[in-house]
């Protein structure tokens, strides 16, 4: 089944649940509004046989608004086809209904997105940090977080950088 046939079938079944379809080199990306994402994922899983959530991840498009893009990479084992579902979220309201009820592995993937981007998943059973220590402040993969944490030391600033370093004495 080619990308165009899949697109056609999804458009007929979901109607305005899909805002936009992008086909690039036989890869299908469905742009979905936040309110319809669970409905679209349910249809893809139950009707279109996309039974595997390969990955769920997030992109920070700062300074664009809406800022965050949540991506669901779906794979159908019986049909051997893939589809990507994309939801854009505003910086001022980064919340999304959870997909844990549909795909159980979304549990840890959504915890990772929450940990590194600060997206809140409504209805998630256990929304805690997963990679960083529990007392961490902030969400480090957001673009406002500086890339480096320490100034690079060269000959002209070596002494100052060294003086600022918190060395352990004992």
């Amino acid at each position: 089944m080619g990308a165009n046939e899949l697109t056609q079938a999804l458009r007929e079944a979901l109607g305005d649940g899909i805002a936009d379809v992008v086909v690039f080199r036989d890869e299908v990306t469905l742009n979905v509004p936040r309110e319809r994402v669970i409905e679209v994922l349910t249809h893809l899983r139950d009707v279109q046989q996309f039974d595997m959530l390969t990955d769920e991840t997030c992109v920070d498009y700062y300074p664009r608004e809406p800022r965050f893009g949540i991506l669901y990479q779906l794979y159908s084992i019986p049909r051997n086809i893939r589809v990507r579902v994309k939801v854009m979220l505003s910086e001022y309201d980064p919340t999304l209904p959870t997909a844990v009820g549909l795909y159980r592995n979304a549990n840890w993937l959504e915890r990772e997105i929450y940990d590194l981007f600060g997206i809140r998943f409504e209805g998630h059973p256990d929304l805690r940090r997963i990679l960083l220590p529990p007392d961490w402040q902030g969400h480090p993969l957001r673009k406002e977080v500086p890339v480096t944490v320490e100034e690079n030391a060269f000959t002209f600033n070596r002494e100052r950088v060294d003086a600022e370093k918190p060395y352990a004495t004992e």
Binding site: L132, P133, P140, A168
Partner: protein
Amino acid sequence: MGLEQKLGDMGIVTTSLEKAVNWARSNAIWPMLFGLACCAIEMMSTQASRYDLSRFGMELMRASPRQSDLMIVAGRVSRKMAPVLRNLYDQMPDPKWVIAMGDCASCGGVFNNYAIVQGVDEIVPVDVYVAGCPPRPETLIDGIMKLQEKIKHEPLKKWQ
């Protein structure tokens, strides 16, 4: 050995206690079996037959911090690992030494970012830094020999 002929029949050698203790300490360092990243592979190879760390009295890699007196920090230390590393260091009995093996343990290396501690000397006091990414076993052995030299000149009062 040659020493006996020089001494004649005396059967006694005099030296300072400090020198004798430091000689014993420096030639039987037990490193901790503790690897964090790719540097640990080089550390294992240093300890294995080809490079043979047992030539320096270090063949015993102890899996418990309570039985070891050298911590080779082999690899990058993440901020989440830092308290664990400090805890292991605190559990080691005195006298104890630390080698920061590789660029990441010495200064953060290529990982100048939020997740990695910028040099393990922010957490534990480091005696010898070994450069390299990762250092070859010869480099680590050189660092260990530098540490042995350092131990031989340590005052006994340091570990009071």
